[in-house]
Symmetry: C2
Subunit: 188 residues, 2 copies
Amino acid sequence: MARAGLTPERLVRAAADLADEVGFDNLTVSALARRFGVKDASLYSHLRNAQDLRERVAVLALAELADRAASALAGRAGKDALVAFANAYRDYAKEHPGRYAAMQVDLTPEIAATSRAGRHSEMTRAILRGYRLPEPDETDAVRLLHSTFHGFTALEAAGGFRHHPRDTDASWAKTLDALHTLLDNWPS
Amino acid sequence: MARAGLTPERLVRAAADLADEVGFDNLTVSALARRFGVKDASLYSHLRNAQDLRERVAVLALAELADRAASALAGRAGKDALVAFANAYRDYAKEHPGRYAAMQVDLTPEIAATSRAGRHSEMTRAILRGYRLPEPDETDAVRLLHSTFHGFTALEAAGGFRHHPRDTDASWAKTLDALHTLLDNWPS
DNA sequence: GTGTTAGCCTAGATCCCCTAGGTTGGGAGG
DNA sequence: CCTCCCAACCTAGGGGATCTAGGCTAACAC
């Protein structure tokens, strides 16, 4: 009887792929075990419980997205940087819906501290530096940008835009235009 | 043996309350039956299945929010209308987190058509009329506003803002200011 | 009073999560 | 090469959720 060679890392990567295929809500320990040809009880030597699995997928996704966003941002500034960052965000959400959904939930304090609040906000602040907003306005702008990026991708993923003929990509481009204009004319 | 007097309407209202208390993810047919002192199998004469229950809660929430938003909008225009609508949206989400979460999921085509895409977008367009945007810019602005409102409330509910000392209400007010400015200086 | 129907029941199949405890493969050390 | 040991994987089983099939009865219609 050959062993499956499970490790937490392999499990989490497979879980993330599974979530992208069947949806984050349908990510179960049983299904993951099935994918490895193993009994579900066997996974509990590598994972504390199902919630632990979900959190690890969330951490993986946050790290992947941060890497992508950092690459997209490299060597860019101003509107270029804004658009590159926003597109990296939205593209990742479209390519990896399960991973993206994982990022939204959970967020136990420690995890949120290590992952989300970290690089994500820093990169947004790096973009905003070009627009020279004083505090606390920069913080407000960070929140506005995050809200808009997340809201747009979430509504798009939920199918909220497909009832109107207007092309979604065009609306997205116009939204980024508008945000750039807004940051340039930020109300004092 | 007295009957519990169940009806789909009573069940859905109770389910919405239950979702607000324990979270939409923890809304189960079993828990709902328990609340009525009844066996879970008994609910399946009133509901097709668990998904049906969730969808009905979503429809209820969409209708309630539309009513509130319509009241808030009555007799207002311009920035007043924008702020009133946005606050109605965010306040509802904070008061009824379970109902709000229900609104996001599901969205089978028919349901989305009857509820969400309906009054919600119409009200947003009513607000935007004061800013006199040509098509397709008005559609893009509708999507931008929806995205920002939803994104902000979702991130706030998930605790995404509590890692920074800046007051969330202040950021929200500033965000609405900024959106008003943006709509007044919409890039052509 | 008799029928009909709707409201609620029990029983049971299936799936998921998770624990406790047993077995075995494969590498480390003699 | 042999032994020991640990990590990897197993079986068994409890608890909870979803949902179906089929039975009983309260309440209303006639």
